[in-house]
Amino acid sequence: MVIQIRFFASLRERLQLSDCSLPFEASMTVEQVWSKVTNNESLPANLLCAVNMEYVSLQQVVKAGDEVAFFPPVTGG
C-alpha cells in the first residue's frame, strides 16, 4: 500500500521530481509526507497542498492510495 506524491511548476523543477510514491504509514500527515519525500527540507513559504485533487491543510492525515500534491501559488488566467 502506497501513497502517490506529485509536484508542480517551480517546485517540480527545483526538486527535479515530478512524481513518486511512499509506503503508506498510519496517521501520517501531509506535512510528514513532505518531510519524508524531500529528506526533511523546510516547508516553502506559501506552499499549497492537495489530497485527491482537493485543497487540504498540512495537518490533513493521509489514507492508503491517496494522491498528495505540492505546488506553489497558482498563476493562471
Binding site: 511548476a9 497558482v74 493562471g76 488566467g77
Partner: protein
C-alpha cells in the same frame, strides 16, 4: 482534452475545457451560444477574455508555458461554477483555459456567463475569474530575453 458538460442541481448549464491548442474566444462564444436551448430567456451575456501581454513587471515577455494539474483544475472550476449557480441566477456558463506554449496576443482564458438580467452575468463572470486566478491550479512560466522565470503570484482583481 475535453471536459464533459455538467448539469448541476439548480438547472444552470456549464462547460469547462482545458485546451492545449490556440483558440479564438469570440468564435467559441458564438458557437457555444448557438447550442444554448434557452433561446429568448437570456437577456445578458458577460464575457471575459484574458490575453497574453508582451510585458510583465517591467520586462519584455517573448512567450510563456502554462502548466496545470490535470483533473484537479477541472474539478475546481466545476465546483466554482456550481457554487455560482447556487448563489446567482444564471442560465449557462463557459470556461476555456489554455495550457502549453503561448505567444503574445494569444488568448489565455475565456469566461462567458448567460443570465436573464445583467447583474448576475456581470457578477458571476468576475467571480469565476477571481476564483480561477486565485485558486485554480495553473502556473505560468515566462520566457524573457535573458532566460525563463516562473510568475510568483497573481495580483488581486478587486
Amino acid at each position: 482534452m475535453k471536459w464533459p458538460f455538467f448539469h448541476p442541481s439548480r438547472g444552470a448549464e456549464m462547460h469547462i475545457e482545458i485546451r492545449s491548442e490556440a483558440f479564438e474566444p469570440y468564435h467559441e462564444v458564438q458557437v457555444y451560444q448557438e447550442k444554448i436551448q434557452a433561446t429568448g430567456q437570456y437577456g445578458a451575456t458577460a464575457v471575459f477574455v484574458g490575453t497574453m501581454r508582451d510585458f510583465n513587471e517591467g520586462d519584455d515577455v517573448k512567450g510563456m508555458a502554462l502548466e496545470h494539474y490535470p483533473g484537479m483544475t477541472e474539478n475546481y472550476l466545476k465546483m466554482v461554477c456550481e457554487e455560482a449557480s447556487g448563489r446567482w441566477s444564471i442560465i449557462d456558463s463557459l470556461i476555456i483555459h489554455r495550457v502549453g506554449k503561448l505567444w503574445p496576443n494569444d488568448p489565455i482564458v475565456l469566461v462567458a456567463v448567460w443570465s436573464a438580467h445583467r447583474k448576475d452575468a456581470f457578477e458571476v463572470s468576475r467571480y469565476l475569474m477571481e476564483e480561477l486566478k486565485s485558486k485554480a491550479p495553473f502556473w505560468k512560466k515566462e520566457f524573457l530575453a535573458d532566460g525563463d522565470r516562473w510568475v510568483q503570484h497573481n495580483t488581486p482583481g478587486y
